[in-house]
Amino acid sequence: MATYLEFIQQNEERDGVRFSWNVWPSSRLEATRMVVPLACLLTPLKERLDLPPVQYEPVLCSRPTCKAVLNPLCQVDYRAKLWACNFCFQRNQFPPAYAGISEVNQPAELMPQFSTIEYIVQRGPQTPLIFLYVVDTCLEEEDLQALKESLQMSLSLLPADALVGLITFGRMIQVHELSCEGISKSYVFRGTKDLTAKQIQDMLGLSRPAVQMQQGRPLQTPEQPVISSRFLQPVHKIDMNLTDLLGELQRDPWPVTQGKRPLRSTGVALSIAVGLLEGTFPNTGARIMLFTGGPPTQGPGMVVGDELKTPIRSWHDIEKDNARFMKKATKHYETLANRTAANGHCIDIYACALDQTGLLEMKCCANLTGGHMVMGDSFNTSLFKQTFQRVFNKGFNGEFRMAFGAHLDVKTSRELKIAGAIGPCISLNAKGPCVSENELGIGGTSQWKICSLDPSTTLAIYFEVVNQHNAPIPQGGRGAVQFVTQYQHSTTQKRIRVTTIARNWADAQSQLQHIEAAFDQEAAAVLMARLGVYRAESEEGPDVLRWLDRQLIRLCQKFGQYNKDDPNSFRLSESFSLYPQFMFHLRRSPFLQVFNNSPDESSYYRHHFARQDLTQSLIMIQPILYAYSFHGPPEPVLLDSSSILPDRILLMDTFFQIVIYLGETIAQWQKAGYQDMPEYENFKHLLQAPLDDAQEILQTRFPMPRYIHTEHGGSQARFLLSKVNPSQTHNNLYAWGQESGAPILTDDVSLQVFMDHLKKLAVSSAA
């Protein structure tokens, strides 16, 4: 089915959309029997070099409930200058500007290659981007120094007209006024007292203009820039000031006695940051960038007390309902996240500490607002420094790879309804005729807000086929979905990107093979994984695993070819062949397994899984393993313990980690120093090759992965050993005979055992 692969790839490249099914079952009943829901991964701002934006307003369907955008799928009557909406079939007049339209003189949005098109529109005043740094000062001297340098450096990366602000916190919170000459001025808040937005604005002196606004309009305009200039200043103006200010930042001066954690008021600091932006720049693109080096230890949002003898909550504590502060803290951050999202701002969390920092509680801040979440050991690592730098990376066209305040509006043709979305978004609660009652992910709406997104941000959108079985769709009928994404471009332009896609309907009973062939198992795996991870956030781990297993078994039952109760007869077609393997690795992944992970780590992994595009997601589910040896060119090998051979160098990419693993022999050679001998230059090259490849991955990935260089028997080798399929373990080492590979000391089932069970269950008539 090369054609389908090509089709899928082509669609992805053009529209940034990958559907689990590329031919859609035409009835509701059939669709539910497909097990994997009809869904797609949408990368709304997928980078398209060949997509020059058009400089005019999109033409909308005049039906108030529809308002779909004119697209290549619409029927156009060139003579009457009419077009028919392909979603609601409303006939619409072209606007006057389209008077010259004809078959040969089509506007771009009607051309088939512009199924995705971007409009630049003029709406409202353009406000510069806003970056509000919220910096923890309870750091070790080294860390703080590194962080200060990173922050100073970042100033040069910001657009010159961007507004920047600085809040520092420790025991207290300081909101720095940046426009002062000769004296650095800051407003200080107690870290233990939660303040309402109103109070914050009063205390920062931001509320007075509001009063004046009510009194008389004329005053308002001159006042407006004055307020903003106090705490948020154009970078180019206060560049030097801020650099000095950052340079003079001191560690939190309050004494920390032995056996105590520093008092860290992250909760109130964030609250103030949110309140500040809320009061000054609602509904414009703004990033609150939180840099924290430890858990919040006081005030609202505290995650752990300041006594070092009470450790921060673990999964064990959470299961035992022993995490004292978790619920309250989570609630605090959720409230903040929702407020932030409502204002169209986003919160990034850069947490660098050896211990947990409370990401579990704070995750919603990044998750709901589309902010980044970065976790590292220290600010003084290249992991943080480079990752942070990459936030300000620019795309090919020299524009920042970030966009703000996106509204995603999904429109479907009548046979489809929208069940929900999973990704860094919140619901806008737009109920409409195309909203399904069944929710998958964030449902009950056809519109979502993505406060911050970049070209790789990917949402999973789930649909429901609502066409009844007894109302067949005519042969060749197509279902359509339109994604309308309005957002603030990094150049502060308002843009609208419209993607309209259509897929064929097929009757699942008569044309199952078409549907089967058009199955996108990669997309399906990721979509199912997102559902699973989404559930795992609220449900018990084992329940989610059982649910996943059941889905897999049902899928195999539906699409496998087998004889009842004969596991050996089980076969899956090519388009499904990899799917069980994905599920196997997904079950073992940190997204669903919390064992060996702290709650923070789990939150971190899940955060990234819920926003990355298909390729990256797949890497996360099933890491990629490359082998380097003298036997041939580098090759991808099975993620299996049998791939671990003494004369190989392995390179594993799990998205979060890059592991280079030297096999036993190679490691010995290296120790013997052969690589330094001229006659063994080829060995030197062999050693170098994976390093180069790793560099390439490191260069492009956000967040930067943890780079691990290890060898056979090294302690860090566990990163590799925990990921590979344990085909050889201490249990079966000798049973399998002296085959090559490394045994893994685990009781986990191997892929082979998993498949055997799967087959058995799939063919079982009892199931």
Binding site: M172, Q174, E177, C180, G182, I183, S184, K185, S186, Y187, V188, F189, R190, K193, D202, M203, L204, G205, D244, E248, Q250, P253, W254, P255
Partner: protein, 1048 residues
Amino acid sequence: MSQQGYVAAPPYSQSQPGIGGFGPPSSSLHYGHYGDPNSSYSAPQPGVSKSTVPFGSSAPVGPPPAGTQFSQTSFQNGPGAPGQQPHRFQGPPPPSNTGPSYPPYSHQSQPAFPNTASTSSTAQLADQLSSMQINNYGPGTIPSPHVSPGHPASLQGPRLPPPTQQQISLPPGSQLPPPPASNVNGLGAQPSLPPMARPGGIPGPVSPNPNLQQLPGQPPGPGYHPQQANYGPPMAGSQLSYPGAFPGGPAQLSGAFPGGPAQLSGPPQKKLDPDSIPSPIQVIENDKAARGGQIYATNTRGQVPPLVTTDCVIQDQGHASPRYIRCTTYCFPCSPATSDMARQARIPLAAVVQPFATVPPNETPLYLVNHGETGPIRCNRCKAYMCPFMQFIEGGRRYQCGFCSCINDVPQFFFQHLDHMGRRMDQYERPELSLGSYEYVATLDYCRNKKPPNPPAYIFMIDVSYRNIKSGLVKLICDELKTLLDKLPREEQEESSAIRVGFVTYNKVLHFFNVKSSLAQPQMMVVTDVAEVFVPLLDGFLVDFEESRSVVTNLLDQIPELFADTNESETIFAPVIQAGMEALKAAECAGKLFIFHSSLPTAEAPGKLRNRDDKKLLGTDKEKTLFQPQGNCYEALARDCVANGCCVNLFLFPNQYVDVASMGLVTMYTGGTLYKYNNFQLDADRSQFLRDLRKDVEKRTGFDATMRVRTSTGFRATDFFGAMYMNNTTDVEMAAIDCDKAVTVEFKHDDKLNEDTGALIQCAVLYTSISGQRRVRIHNIGLNCSSQLADVYRTCETDALINFFAKSAFKAILSQPLKAVRDILMSQTAHMLACYKKNCASPATVSQLILPDTMKVLPVYMNCLLKSCVLLGRPETPTDDRVYQRQLVMAMGVADTQLFFYPLLLPLHSLDLKSDAVPAAIRCAEERLSEAGAFLLANGLHMFLWLGASVSPELIQGLFNVPSFAHIRAEATSLPDLDNPFSKKLKRILEQIQSQKPHTMKLMIVKQQEQPEMIFRQFLVEDKSVYGGASYVDFLFCIHKEISQLLS
């Protein structure tokens, strides 16, 4: 123990500079001069053998006969009754005894005066006048509570004691020259009491009257006897009823007495010669003449020190210097049980303690005793500190506490053998055994949390609201601080001050400043959460000025500009104090806040105040509420401040009512000082303010202080008045106490006092020094006890009495109607005097007003107190001013209250340019002014330069450099610096007056007949006040009437 300081001390080095210690030879020699009688009189030590030594060496100073005579007495009486010797010896044969003993002394000051005169130490006023006035006005005039219907009876009484009776009418007690003082101190050079006794009787150069100020009464009958003319112009009668208004006014005093029965029906024209009534000036001058410039050694229990107005050198020889403690009487009545004597007398037993009083450079500073880790030695039972009152027994192994009589073991390290007289060999090497005042280094047990204290900190908190910026005040303060901070107080041996400084500005939010030395520029931290104020930074807020000089200077340069375009007019206040207190708390140190504030704090915050000034409350029972704070916020805050050693100095710059009663409360309780500059004008008031600020910053202060007053058995301290706070009934807590603050302590009997042991008082102040050392400052004083009322009266000190009365009255107005307070004062005065008359004066004087010599000026001072604006509210006086004055007086020492209630009035036109001396003051009455004269009036708060309409042009030229009276600009608040002797001299005088007063007086130039003269006149306290308040003479009548009533 700080031997070094001890060696350097004047009194000891004076006698034996080379020896550097308290070797027995030096002390005996030394005491030969000053201390001899001490040994013979004080305590039960046998002074017999000792007394032989001094006489040889004492010869040059005093007349030998006196000394001999006295020492004989002591021989005769022996050690058995040392304390009472003077009386016993002199008492029984008054005239004859005085005779011989007196002349040697009198010849020095009043050589020409006859012997009889010297005995007339009582001022008497016949009551004819008052009775006659009643005749005149009787029921017809304003009925006064003091005019009792029974009074006419007293008319009969004053059977005109002829002038010759004067001697006879003297109370025997007062005739006694107090030999101990004179003998002991100056051997004739300092006849301390006798001169006091004399002035009343001796006509001074200004007084035309003979020695007795006796106004002979009239013969019975309705008429007014012309005889009166003999005794000077009598007073207008209706003024009798204190404090009722009298239409006549003081001006009438100058008229001649017309005499004749016509007065009966006509308007009051009778005059009393003002010179005939006791003159405070006379009393002051006499004391000055007698004791000024001399050495006063405190070696005798119960001796009466020179007046506060007298300049002399004080030597501590076992009792605290009067600079530290002054008592209302130096002889306590033995017991209320014996004769109801104390109760009857109603003489308040009180001490005014000014523990940190400044001593002039020619007096020894306090020695610092350091016992290392053991800490101060204290009595096990009453915890009194080791002092000269402890008696060593059993060969020096034990000592008996002089306060509670408990026998304690002498600690090993402290042991010393006793000499043949039972005194420790090292008595004169140890300040705690030989001095009245000294300091102990305290151990950790005396520290907060048992941790050594940090050096204190000063926090400057500047109101930067619109008004202060516009008036230029903020800039003024900032500019001044730049230089002022170099002058922070430091210990003598230190190179720089240990005091750290911090800065806060505020309007309705607070701005803290980080001025850490490592910063390139200061950092400002705004705290807007005024409801729950907190300190936003720890490190860098309180800094060493030396280290952070550049940052601080930078900050001070910037503050005025930072707020230059502010339009914030609302301010907060309580959170400001709170913030300062929290900052000190966080830094774990005590300290002072300097708050510069201008307006009523109306911003929404704790301690928000509303304008509740209400003139309608004057004279009602609710008037007292004006003196009470609004709400309890400030009281709670004050408590916290005291608990954390945070003293609040408040500089107010109000344009209108700012509720000083509320805002000043914390200042009051924390031992701070309140300064108020009404309608502050940069040009006119800057020098006054800056001087105050400088003085306050440089002031030597003890921080985080607790004072405890211990007494010997039989009496105890019952009440305390001052700028302090009390959590319980015994510990006086002061966040800080500076050299100008005095606490007045009232004592009450709870048992009979022993004449032998006397009444001992030990006042210990535990405090943190400016360098952060914890110390105990101890002042000991011993008073006599007597069962003779006369002894009590004879040792009274009017200045201290007035201090006590003022403070107790000013405290009472918080809880009682002002009228009741005034009545109490009146009746107490009357009681005191009546009791004297009844018990100590001869019966023949029954109808006369007889004043004990030591209380001769009590009526005039009391009248001043009664008509002070605090006690007598008038719509013209702003409430804030009354509250302000009340607060100031509460903290004042004796010298300050004396000047405050009876201002100093100096004639300037007759300056003797050749001498350095300040001209003699004149009485505060308008009739003393002359059109051709210029006068300077000062009361410690205000200063006036009054210029008569026809003052000589030369004088004007000399002072103002303008040709004539008309050219003088009355708005000026300072005199130009002119290069002529007159101007220079005047400047010197101004400086001299100013230098001793805690508050800087703003000079007001008053030209006769111009509007500001009204203000000036209020300070002519002997006159009838324009705003009510009786004249001196009226008051005398009034009091006399009261006395008569009491006695009848």
